[in-house]
Amino acid sequence: MKLSQIIEKSDLEKVVFCSDDEIESGYCGDLMSDVIANAENNSIWITIQAHKNSIAVALIKDIKAIIFTNNVELNPDLIEKAKDEEINLLKSKKNSFTLCGILYKLLESDSNKD
């Protein structure tokens, strides 16, 4: 599913939007060591861990977009780094559980169509 569709259907705020990538899967986790070990390529990552290292983790794992949940505060450093490295950054007021449920349904119904 295209990232722009995901943004629209799950009511996400665009913080950095640089490319409308095709998203194939998702991963949710706040420990970066766990995300490095387990996230899949071309995925969307749901987390509250708003630290600039998250951009590097996204690059290592070919994660296309990061969604920060719980309306966490994002510092300017993090946003700058995402722009430099062209990683999409999104924000949601919902908590990770609720958002994962919504995204799971979206991606699931999309893969059933194929």
Partner: protein, 259 residues
């Protein structure tokens, strides 16, 4: 022979800057500041620090007791950042540690009650080693401030900020944030005893761009003195010499990376 032993004692300083007292829920209840100092002295340690989780009272007490003893206590604490990274903070004097408590810990640690049946008691002792109270605030929780900001705050108070046991699989820089950012403003990094021994580290070595240190992370009296850093050059005898040493190491590293 006697002279030789004395001489040897003088040039080998034993340092352990990571000890928990009974005020940490995970620390044994008998770990009063006076008992820790007694044990540390008996084991021949020269420079120690009591670093409780988000708590300072026992570090202050140990510093006060140490004034009339032949051991140096550096005021310190082990803070938990918003990312749940454990961060060691050390200061020259207790007034800076008290400021850290007022400005950061007291303000930004969530006011949740400790469940002693799950986490353990947080026992408060007095100068003479008598129990005076139980601390009921959940000290295991995270302070509502991110790592970078915490470090800035420690530096504003002229302290040293050192991520704790960075190789551990929980509450560490690497478990929480994935890797070491070489641009970060750490004064050093601490590794676990296990890594220190396995990789054969010694005082003066670097890990990534940072001087590497190690503490025992003692939680009971018997742990104290089993592990310590050896300072064979007789460099680190108190906070100021420790600070100067880390600064020199950092400068040395900067020069090295310019070459």
């Amino acid at each position: 022979m006697v002279f030789y032993i004395n001489y040897w004692r003088v040039i080998l300083i034993k340092i352990d800057l990571h000890i928990h007292s009974s005020l940490s829920a995970c620390g044994a209840d008998e770990m009063s500041p006076s008992m820790i100092l007694k044990q540390a002295s008996e084991k021949g340690l020269n420079v120690i620090s009591i670093t409780d989780h988000n708590a300072i009272q026992h570090s202050i007490l140990a510093y006060e007791i140490s004034q009339k003893e032949n051991i140096c206590v550096i005021p310190g604490a082990e803070l938990t950042s918003r990312e749940e990274v454990h961060l060691l903070a050390y200061f020259k004097d207790i007034s800076s540690l008290i400021k850290l408590d007022n400005l950061v810990i007291n303000k930004l640690l969530p006011d949740i009650e400790n469940r002693s049946d799950i986490f353990g008691y947080q026992v408060l002792y007095d100068y003479h080693g008598e129990i005076i109270d139980l601390d009921n605030r959940l000290r295991q929780a995270a302070i509502g401030m991110d790592l970078e900001e915490l470090i800035k705050q420690i530096h504003r108070l002229n302290g040293l900020a050192i991520p704790a046991h960075i190789d551990k699989n929980r509450f560490s820089l690497i478990s929480q944030l994935g890797f070491i950012d070489s641009q970060a403003n750490f004064d050093a990094v601490e590794v676990s005893k296990c890594k220190w021994n396995k990789d054969g580290y010694k005082l003066g070595d670097f890990l990534s761009e940072f001087p590497v240190i190690c503490g025992s992370d003692s939680h009971c009296l018997d742990d104290i003195g089993i592990f310590y850093m050896e300072d064979r050059g007789n460099i680190i005898s108190d906070y100021l010499s420790f600070e100067r040493y880390l600064k020199e190491k950092k400068d040395e590293n900067n020069r090295r990376s310019f070459v």
